[in-house]
């Protein structure tokens, strides 16, 4: 996807990502080393690859952090482009809720998917719910029911039936 991306990420975001990557890399590298110490490190053994990969991670992350520090020095704290975090985080929460409802409740695939669809469409929309709910609900219902019937009746892949008499 390449919608015109007019603003570059702020140097602050790059710096933060660099720090997180270095910290994560060091933590994983340490863990790989501990596993190596416990089980022995031989070149052809199972502990080598994790050490090499996480070691590479640390090196590359440090290099990335270096480029971000350089960018920071060059540009200073310029105008920061703040992406809107509310919508993606709510969407992520909705996704997790959807998965949990599918797995652990008796709501069933069709109703859970319908509710998720309407919710996700609303989070991705700039129009108010009352304007689009009928359209979204119809599309969501057709989609959910279509998938359910196609998968269970035609393909034999089991999806939770739930409370609907299907």
């Amino acid at each position: 996807m390449t919608e015109p991306d007019r603003t570059e990420a702020s140097p602050l975001a790059g710096l933060a990502a660099g720090v997180v990557l270095v910290v994560a890399g060091v933590a994983l590298f340490t863990r790989a080393l501990v596993a190596g110490a416990e089980n022995g490190i031989t070149l052809g053994g199972p502990t080598t690859a994790p050490i090499v990969v996480t070691g590479l991670w640390v090196v590359v992350a440090v290099a990335y952090l270096g480029t971000q520090v350089a960018a920071w020095r060059r540009r200073g704290q310029g105008p920061i482009d703040r992406p809107a975090w509310r919508a993606p985080l709510l969407l992520l929460a909705l996704l997790v809720a959807y998965a949990v409802v599918l797995k652990y409740t008796a709501v069933g695939y069709v109703l859970a998917t319908l509710a998720f669809y309407v919710g996700a469409a609303q989070l991705l929309s700039t129009r108010p719910l009352r304007e689009v709910i009928v359209r979204d609900a119809i599309v969501g219902a057709v989609l959910a029911l279509g998938i359910y019937l196609a998968f269970t009746k035609l393909l034999g892949i089991v999806l939770p039936a739930g409370v609907l008499p299907l």
Binding site: A87, L91, L95, A99, L102, A121, S125, R127, L143
Partner: protein, 510 residues
Amino acid sequence: MNAFADLIDGFGTVLTPQNLLYAAIGVTVGTLVGMLPGIGPALTIALLLPVALELDDPTGTLIMFAGIYYGAMYGGSTTSILLNTPGESASVATSIEGYQMAKRGRARAALATAAIGSFVAAIITTVLLTFVTEPMARLAVSFRASDYFALALLAMVTVTAVVGSSIVRGLMSLTFGLFLGVVGIDALTGQARFTFGVASMLDGIDVVVVIVGLFAVGETLFIASRLRDLPEKAVPLEPATGFAWLSRADWSRSWRPWLRGTALGFPFGALPSGGAELPTFLSYMYEKRRARNKDEFGRGAIEGVAGPEAANNASFSGVLVPLLTLGIPTSATAAVMLAAFSYFNLSPGPQLLQNQGTLVWALIASLFVGNVLLLALNLPLIRLWVKVLRIPRPLLYSGILVFATLGVYAVSGNIVDVLLAYAIGLIAMLMRHLDFPVAPAILGLILGPLMETQFRRALLLADGDLSIFVRRPLTLALLLLAVAALALPHLPRLFRGRRADRLAVVTGED
């Protein structure tokens, strides 16, 4: 039997109603997803894997997947030309001149030269593929473990060096993929690695989970974070009505770029050099340099559409060479196709042609069939396809999330995998914001374990003697090439110009 007779047999397999149906479904679905921004062939194939497994027809499935790939390329060129939003990096070059042509009312000519050029390139390179596959497979038999290790390393390094805006970002993405590839039980010793005590992680992280996370979930979250910048509906330029697609002048300006693009695309695809991005840009720059009317470039020169589109399609046939004969994927889509092979317990490599000759030749024959179907399907139906672009964004992306969840859930039946895909999606969204390419992560995930296995096998065969990697000339040559691939972009400033071109596209400047 010679290659020609094998191919005829392949046509015999493909030209059954059922397989033709698979091919038709493939190209249609492919065109559809190729037009939708952010959803490429890799994701589509990943989402279709559970369905394909259920159908249990390896030949039909692979025919469908090849159709999806070609269809996605056609669809991608359509959005590049009409919307100036290339769906993947390989169609960025097309959008430079294609969108300008469309703005000047020449959308039909741009679409036609793209479609016909793709067709020409695909037919020529499929013929090449037919004759290269067998000798290549014979050569591949002599490949040892150390060669495979070096080859996988080369493929990884070149893709990383070519894709994206900086090598450091590409390497970071690659390392992330390599790390995901390490997770799970070690195949040789049974030792658990980075499973963090979660039982379902013991099997490792499925490629479908990673691709769904990186592409579908990541893309949708990215869209959600940019809602205020995006309109609810895309507004494509309307291709004018009428019968004439290409004028005589268009034909005479197009055919040489088609052939030159084809000549660039196939070898670059076949060498482990990272698929279609490099040849499309080389083709664009070459056409620009040798054009008599240079000032037309940037304002809609048909050569700038014809060349890159041919190169794009030609490179796919090229990518199939190392995939089928060596089992080495050199693009994200090839990586998913490799995963599809392994789902059917087929292992691409030198033995595939011997053990599964029918399947391979049917696949190659289906490339011809798919391209004919595409040409018949796309140009006449272009107005219908354009309607797809008008689906409101919220409906589209909510649907993508439903399918993404379904794809992961159906393939694993495991909620941990679903949540993992969401988590990877969150990481992918951040990667997009910070300009990290995602393709290296997938290659790292696929090629990393392959590299490790071959490395350990080579060591085992050499009694732990590391010098095996420098004693064998082929291994050494491949390793040196890998080093060169990392160093090369720094030498000429060629790549700087290329990036400047792309930046201009992304920022919408002329």
